[in-house]
């Protein structure tokens, strides 16, 4: 499997996915 960080768009998409995951964890933890 190709490393998504080799591509600029792969890097941006990984960043967006990570943001979404962390956002949901923190939102849940703050309730």
């Amino acid at each position: 499997m190709k490393n998504p960080l080799d591509s600029l768009w792969g890097t941006v998409i990984c960043g967006l996915i990570l943001t979404l995951i962390l956002y949901n964890i923190i939102k849940f933890a703050m309730q």
């Binding site: 960080l5 600029l8 941006v12 960043g15 962390l22």
Partner: protein, 166 residues
């Protein structure tokens, strides 16, 4: 005192942060592609000799100033954020950890390997090739982490936190 810590501190944090992340984006969105294109007609020497060392200087020191100013803003709430002791500090705690990981990447992975790549320290061709890969992936990792970092920074205070996290 609050004016210096929160007013000037936040201003400095943003100023240095713009320089740090701005140069990070320059490396990832501009320089990597430019060096690839320059390799085709052998015109990359100017970038590696004159541009990259200057950009790396401001990049790595802006990272330090950003982190220190961030720590200054947190002040007595430093541990509340880093150890996730109070829910109100959870969002900035995530930002603080991401920024700390990124600072580590700058000084422990990107800069030592860039010194080999740019010939500031001696290295064999094999060591340079390995250094290129490590520095590249650390830089891309920081670009990836900058997205949640900026999200949590901008959504961590006052009305923004209430709107975003409820």
């Amino acid at each position: 005192m609050d004016f210096i810590q929160l007013g000037l501190g936040r201003w400095l944090h943003i100023l240095a942060g713009v320089m740090w992340i701005g140069l990070l984006y320059y490396f990832n969105f501009v320089q990597v592609g430019a060096l690839k294109a320059a390799a085709a007609d052998n015109t990359g020497a100017g970038i590696t000799k004159h541009v990259a060392p200057r950009a790396l200087f401001y990049f790595r020191w802006a990272a330090v100033v950003t982190w220190l100013a961030g720590a200054m803003i947190l002040g007595k709430h430093f541990l509340d954020a880093f150890l996730f002791l109070k829910p109100a500090y959870y969002p900035i705690g995530v930002g603080a950890w991401l920024g700390t990981i990124m600072l580590f990447n700058v000084w422990m992975l990107i800069w030592p390997n860039q010194k080999k790549i740019l010939g500031m320290v001696s290295a064999t061709d094999a060591e340079k090739n390995k250094a290129r890969r490590v520095a590249f992936l650390a830089s891309r990792t920081n670009t990836m982490l900058s997205l949640p970092l900026l999200f949590f920074m901008s959504a961590s205070g006052g009305i923004f936190r209430t709107v975003v996290f409820g």
